[in-house]
Amino acid sequence: MAIGEHTLVALVLHQPGVLNRISGMFRRRGFNISSLTVGQSESEDLARMTFVVQGDDATVEQVTKQLYKLVDVVRVTDLDEDNSIVREMALVKVSATNQNRSEIIQISEIFRSKIVDVGAETVVIEITGDQSKIDRFIILLQPFGIREVMRTGAVAMSRGNAVTAQIDNNVSGASRVNNRPKDYDQNL
């Protein structure tokens, strides 16, 4: 089983303490997550979270099951890399002088990022993309002197009709996907 990055999306109750329950579970079970984001979903009482998890398929299966064990977690979807959109935003503050500012702007344009602040000695750039694009962007800016990087962590969604961690009015009924043995059959 290949070790790699998996992107999981979970629908969770939008309540105080939920983030603590989830991050606590990751910590105590020793799962590695490289990013975790949370925000309101299309339904007021539910939030969507995106996790980028490191591990093999068995680890991801355990992560999924352990997430489901938390009472506040409603649905979990392991996103198929080829069929999903993963985006992260970053703000990058770099040192800039009159001599090199235009070069920085040029690089920003190539990455289709936005200059959102220009100061006497710095510029702040807003960039959106998948993680590797942001990684590469930051590397290119390093020679100018990076003052500060703020990344949001990944958010993700599946392409086309499919809805990740779908909100289903029937969600408290038998339609939950978690306890279905077919999930585990995949693992045979």
Binding site: G17, V71, V171, N178, N187
Partner: protein, 564 residues
């Protein structure tokens, strides 16, 4: 109907069928306690330490199947519950703990006796709540009981700020619970059940591995049906003990680190393991890479996360053990597995793990065997953790379903006193024996007072070896007899101690006195404490050293083994 928050708690508890609660009051929970006199149907048992409240609630649940209730005040009262909650969490037992919290306005300000108990207990509860609105009290309590007892049971804590107890609001008790993220699967998937049946029908060397899930789902008849129908030997994990009568010819007993050799060997040689609510803990499997190398595994469990967690599974089957077995059994063909059963019988003869040594010394094995004989394997038996626990698991022949109460997953010393208390409260007419280590007993003996106050006729057998015996055994086997910090040279006179509490008590030093002592204890109406002065140097065998396979088993050393 307008009620105070405190009245709401009581009304809710009554609606959940609660009649007994264990706890200790204090400032933050006092307004709740002060309403108890309005509800005489709620019996509150005042314990001596909150750990005892949680463990008594646990023992109560284990023997009755009714959710145990523990109560404590904020801060230290609540933190004292933690070990009991963790014990319950590891063994999947249903407790609802209700704690008082400082008033809402004081939360987060390091107020007197403030502790973030929902934060503290996050990893040791199935779920917990901090109630911040009086209107939520009924719903939260209903949910707490539902979560505690349904699915894979577990402890749930409800923290209620003091000012909510005295506020008033309309009391409406919800009829149903709606928790969108919680919907345990009880019935097995049909196609998986079919696969399981066909594996069982074609197996040549099948075994049943019966765990706590079989006990918790009360699948006693079903386990027996399955075993008898296809003549499949039954191995019971530490917590699976008393899911299947040990007097049955197909019963092999406990496998693993201190299991009987033939049970571990049968697991090792099996071509099919039908696991019923067991989770393949490392004490059972030993070295995972060489565990049951030829076996396919049908893993039946209500908690999907334990399936595939430690061992590879051919047929994962999520559901309640009892319900799954009821569907599965009709699809299982009658069989006799003659060669396999015969082979196991031979192993039983060639590897007699439970033969008593011809020794003049007073040994724990001998005492426990005698208690087993005299009670005809029919008592409710509670233990602490350590050597005496393993010997009880080995030498007590459990003939009655669900009659074994022990801390398996967390291995919590001190469980023996309060859990026995809860068990006796839950089953007032049963004979309850508490087999105690002198170490564990001293961790929680303060509840002897509670036991006397409540006239609980528990029979305590202290296996007094003046050592933290199990640790001493490890020091002997793995640390060249360096006995650091394991000797209890200053034990009190337990007989005098018991007498000080008003408990009938006596000491036994000779083998010849054992029978009479046990019979006397049984004939005495109230609680009894026997101080058995046992051989301190006995070690528990068989033993598979940690992280090793069954091939490394030491059954009964003539010379002491060296694993150093």
């Amino acid at each position: 109907m307008k009620l105070t928050g405190a009245q709401m708690v009581c009304e809710s508890l009554i609606r959940e069928g609660v009649d007994t609660m264990f706890g200790i009051p204090g400032g933050a929970i006092l307004p709740l306690y002060q309403t108890f006199h309005q509800y005489p149907q709620l019996k509150h048992i005042l314990v001596r330490h909150e750990q005892g409240a949680a463990m008594a609630a646990d023992g109560y649940y284990r023997v009755t199947g009714k959710v145990g209730v523990a109560m404590a005040t904020s801060g230290p009262g609540a933190t004292n519950l933690v070990t009991g909650l963790a014990t319950a969490q590891m063994d999947s037992t249903a407790i609802v703990a209700i704690t008082g919290q400082v008033s809402r306005g004081a939360i987060g300000k390091d107020a007197f006796q403030e502790c973030d108990i929902t934060g503290v207990t996050l990893p040791v509860t199935k779920h917990n709540y901090l109630v911040m609105d009086i209107h939520d009290i009924p719903r939260v309590i209903k949910e707490a009981f539902y979560l505690a007892k349904s699915g894979r049971p577990g402890p749930v804590l409800v923290d209620i700020p003091k000012d909510l107890f005295t506020e008033e609001a309309e009391f409406i008790y919800p009829e149903t619970v709606e928790i969108p993220g919680y919907n345990p699967t009880l019935e097995g998937n049909m196609s998986q059940i079919k696969k399981a049946a066909s594996l069982i029908n074609s197996a040549k060397k099948p075994v049943i591995l019966s765990g706590h899930g079989a006990v918790l789902s009360r699948a006693f008849d079903e386990v027996k049906d399955l075993a008898e129908r296809a003549q499949i030997p039954v191995i019971t994990t530490l917590l699976g003990i008393s899911s299947f009568p040990e007097t049955h010819v197909l019963s092999l007993g406990m496998p693993g680190m201190h299991g009987v050799a033939y049970a571990s060997m049968a697991l090792d040689q099996a071509d099919l393991i039908v696991s019923l609510g067991a989770r393949f803990d490392d004490r059972v499997t030993g070295k995972l890479s060489s565990f049951a190398p030829n076996a396919k595994i049908i893993h039946i469990d209500i908690d999907p996360s334990v399936i595939g967690q430690n061992v590879r599974t051919q047929v994962p089957l999520v559901g309640d053990v009892k319900s799954v077995l009821q569907t599965l059994i009709p699809q299982v063909k009658q069989n006799n597995h003659e060669d396999w059963v015969q082979h196991i019988e031979e192993m039983r003869i060639n590897h007699p793990s439970l033969r008593l040594k011809e020794k003049d010394n007073l040994t724990q094995q001998y005492i426990i065997k005698k208690i087993s004989d005299i009670t005809q394997g029919g008592a409710v038996v509670v233990t602490g953790v350590g050597q005496h626990q393993m010997w009880t698991a080995q030498y007590y022949t459990f003939s009655q379903p669900n009659s074994w109460v022990t801390s398996g997953g967390l291995g919590t010393m001190g469980f023996e006193v309060p859990a026995a208390m809860g068990a006796q409260v839950g089953k007032p007419d049963s004979v309850v024996w508490s087999i105690c280590g002198d170490g564990g007993f001293q961790m929680t003996l303060s509840d002897l007072a509670t036991i006397v106050e409540n006239k609980l006729p528990i029979k305590f057998a202290i296996m007094n070896n003046h050592f933290l015996g199990m640790v001493r055994q490890w020091q002997h086997l793995f640390y060249e007899d360096t006995f650091t910090a394991t000797q209890y040279s200053g034990n009190p006179d337990f007989v005098k101690l018991a007498e000080a509490y008003g408990i009938h008590s006596f000491r036994v030093t000779e083998k010849s006195e054992v029978d009479n002592a046990i019979t006397d204890a049984m004939e005495h109406d109230g609680p009894v404490l026997i101080d058995f002065m046992v051989d301190p140097e006995e070690n528990v065998y068989p033993m598979i050293p940690p992280g090793e396979s069954v091939l490394e088993i030491v059954e009964e050393p003539t010379e002491e083994p060296t694993w150093r």
